[in-house]
Every structure is written in structure tokens, then in C-alpha cells.
């Protein structure tokens, strides 16, 4: 497999295929903060409050990364900027930088004109900060770092490069909070063709062990959680929202897009509930002195 400089660590075309469908489309069925990743529940009985679960998720990562006690935050794969907005609302004198490969997300965040918030339309591969960060958060980006068909060695190599960069950009003992989907009982060769080609082309999930292997010697894993049922619940709530707005979505975006996302969310709900895919959350601390 030949990796180009442009797709190593996440292909812009692959990201834009999914996330640049339309900001308005996502606004219909995500929560009001446009947070497009698993919510967080601290109670084992998962209620139907999507909005609150997303705020709790953001706060979990701000605390786990140490962002709440620092002044400079990097958000790798920042989505529509909800986590950075929350961070700056807690302390407007802090500074947040977000990286995204989605042009729509980049434009959306730029249009918010929030002081002390920078957004860069670039991959972490080319990011070159001039000042160290106090904390790094990365939610739902790691899934796009490796290419389909990559060997274990190739995957671990790119993940190791990611952890190396994070360590280099953090102040000594700085923390990284990472959230990613991972393979559970599903193997790469058995993954769903529909999801692979229609929804997330050119992306490959990690296995939990690959993350441990790649971060070994660079970060201490202080917390490791598998919250797959929480992502199953989140997708189930998104599916309910999508279905409740079917007429509007079909009218504005067409039947095909509606069907595609309905099928994708159905498969995701079942995948997480059955344990074929996992949702991992890591609190990691740099081992650099």
C-alpha cells in the first residue's frame, strides 16, 4: 500500500465526503451544540437527554486533558467547535486552537468570531505550533488516521507518529484526552461494505491494542474506558431525531441521503450494542520530562 503525504493521518477528501454533506443537515438531527460523537452518561441507566450527555462528554474531556487548569488547548478534529466554545466560556482569557479537514466546519467556526479561538483547516500531520499546549483533546478523529488495508505495523506507525507529535506539542507532563471508535468483535476484513464505501470511505478503525502499543513509552494511560453502550445510545437518539424529521430532510436533501443516514445509524446502533465496535476513551499523560 502506498500512502501519500496528503492521506497519511487522515484524508481531506474522506473527511469532506462525510462531514461536508451540509451543516444544515447535521443541525436537524444532532444536539444544538452540533456535537457529532458519543455522549457521556455517568449513570449506567442511560436516559434520553442527548443535549446533556454531549455537555457531560465535553466536560469529561476538558477535565481529563487538564484543559480546565491550563490556558492553551489544542482540539484535533474539532468538529463544529463545541468543545472549544465550552472551554472559552469557562475562561475567555484562555486560548483554543482547533484542527479540522472539513471545509464546512472550518467556515462555521470562523464565522462565530469568538475571541481567542483559532481554527486551522489542516491535518495534525502538518500542524506546527510555536508555543506548547497545556492540553490536547481529540474526539472522533483517530478513526481516520489509518488507511483501509493497512497492516498492523503501518497502523501502529501512524498512531505512534500522532502520539509523538502530541507529546512534542504538550508542555512536560501535559495530558491528552482521546476518544475513538475501535474494532471490538468485528475484524477489518468483515466490516460492513455499506459503511466503508458510502459513509466513511478511506478510513480504518484502530484495535485497542494498537493504541496501547503506539502510545507506549510516550504517554502513561491513566484512564481507559470502553463506553460502547453510550455510543449505541447516542446513535439511537440521533436515529430517533432523524426519523422524526424525515419529511423535512427528504424535502430539503432528498430521499437517498435520508435512507443512507438512516441505514448507517441503524448499523451503528446495533454494532455498538452487540460489541462489534467499541467506543474508547483515554486519559493520557505525557512521559516527557
Amino acid at each position: 500500500m502506498v500512502e501519500t503525504l496528503t492521506n497519511r493521518g487522515g484524508s481531506a477528501a474522506a473527511i469532506q465526503h462525510h462531514y461536508d454533506v451540509s451543516n444544515e443537515f447535521y443541525a436537524i438531527w444532532l444536539d444544538s451544540s452540533l456535537t457529532y460523537s458519543a455522549g457521556f452518561w455517568d449513570d449506567p441507566i442511560l436516559d434520553n437527554d442527548l443535549e446533556q450527555s454531549q455537555q457531560k462528554k465535553i466536560d469529561w474531556h476538558l477535565n481529563a486533558s487538564g484543559a480546565t487548569t491550563g490556558k492553551r488547548l489544542l482540539d484535533i478534529g474539532c468538529g463544529w467547535g463545541a468543545l472549544m466554545q465550552r472551554y472559552l466560556s469557562l475562561d475567555p482569557t484562555s486560548n483554543a486552537t482547533g484542527l479540522t479537514l472539513s471545509h464546512n466546519q472550518y467556515q462555521h467556526i470562523g464565522s462565530l468570531n469568538i475571541p481567542n479561538l483559532q481554527v486551522c483547516e489542516e491535518s495534525w500531520i502538518v500542524h506546527q505550533p510555536t508555543t506548547a499546549y497545556d492540553a490536547i483533546v481529540s474526539i472522533g478523529a483517530f478513526e481516520h488516521f489509518a488507511q483501509p488495508g493497512a497492516t498492523l505495523e503501518e497502523k501502529v506507525s501512524v498512531y505512534k507518529e500522532f502520539f509523538g507529535r502530541c507529546q512534542q506539542w504538550l508542555k512536560p507532563k501535559g495530558k491528552l484526552s482521546l476518544q475513538t471508535i475501535a474494532y471490538g468483535s468485528l475484524n477489518a476484513e468483515d466490516k460492513n461494505v455499506f459503511t466503508q464505501t458510502e459513509i466513511f470511505p478511506d478510513s480504518e478503525l484502530p484495535r485497542p491494542g494498537e493504541i496501547f502499543l503506539a502510545s507506549d513509552g510516550l504517554f502513561e494511560i491513566k484512564t481507559y474506558r470502553n463506553d460502547r453502550l453510550q455510543y449505541g445510545k447516542t446513535c439511537d437518539l440521533w436515529l430517533k431525531n432523524l426519523r422524526s424529521q424525515k419529511l423535512l430532510i427528504v424535502d430539503q436533501f432528498g430521499e437517498e441521503l435520508y435512507r443512507k443516514y438512516e441505514q448507517y445509524l441503524k448499523l451503528a446502533v446495533a454494532g455498538f450494542y452487540f460489541g462489534q465496535i467499541l467506543l474508547l476513551r483515554f486519559e493520557m499523560q505525557s512521559l516527557a520530562k
Binding site: K266, A270, Y273, Q276
Partner: protein, 88 residues
């Protein structure tokens, strides 16, 4: 209006078809995991059930309710609720 018994029979027949066994061999108190159902099969099963029952269901159905007996009881309640809504 579909009854719990009819729903149970439909699911048994569906699973028997997939597993290539006689419907009588399907015990409605076995946990779904024992049938070796994966997420794609569960999504297909839920989709076909939706079509048969005439209303939408969550793909988490076979996770939240572990056996055919439990799912059938739950769905029979939903059928009743749907009917009440239609009658209003």
C-alpha cells in the same frame, strides 16, 4: 391487530429460516446471543419486523430485550399503543 403469540411465531419463523432449522427448534426463552445473531442480521430482522408491523423500531430492540418472549411481549404492547393512537 398482531398478538404476542403471532409476533413470537413470526420471529421464530424468521430465525429458523436464517439458521436453516425447523421453527419448532427455536426456543423463545433462549437469549438472542445463542442464535449467533450479529449486528447486520439484527438490523435486517428489525427492518423486516418494521415492515410487517407497520411502525418504526429501534435497532437496539434485540439488545434491550434478550429473548423472543421478551421482545414479543414488548412489541405486542407497542401494537396496542399504536392502535390506541390511531383510534384517537
Amino acid at each position: 391487530m398482531k398478538t404476542q403469540e403471532q409476533i413470537s411465531k413470526w420471529i421464530k419463523s424468521y430465525l429458523a429460516d436464517i439458521l436453516e432449522v425447523e421453527p419448532e427448534k427455536i426456543d423463545e426463552n433462549y437469549e438472542f446471543e445463542r442464535f449467533g445473531i450479529n449486528s447486520s442480521a439484527a438490523v435486517s430482522l428489525v427492518g423486516d419486523l418494521e415492515e410487517w408491523l407497520g411502525f418504526e423500531l429501534s435497532p437496539s430492540l434485540f439488545f434491550e430485550f434478550n429473548t423472543i418472549a421478551q421482545v414479543s411481549a414488548h412489541l405486542a404492547n407497542m401494537v396496542q399503543q399504536e392502535k390506541t393512537l390511531q383510534d384517537v
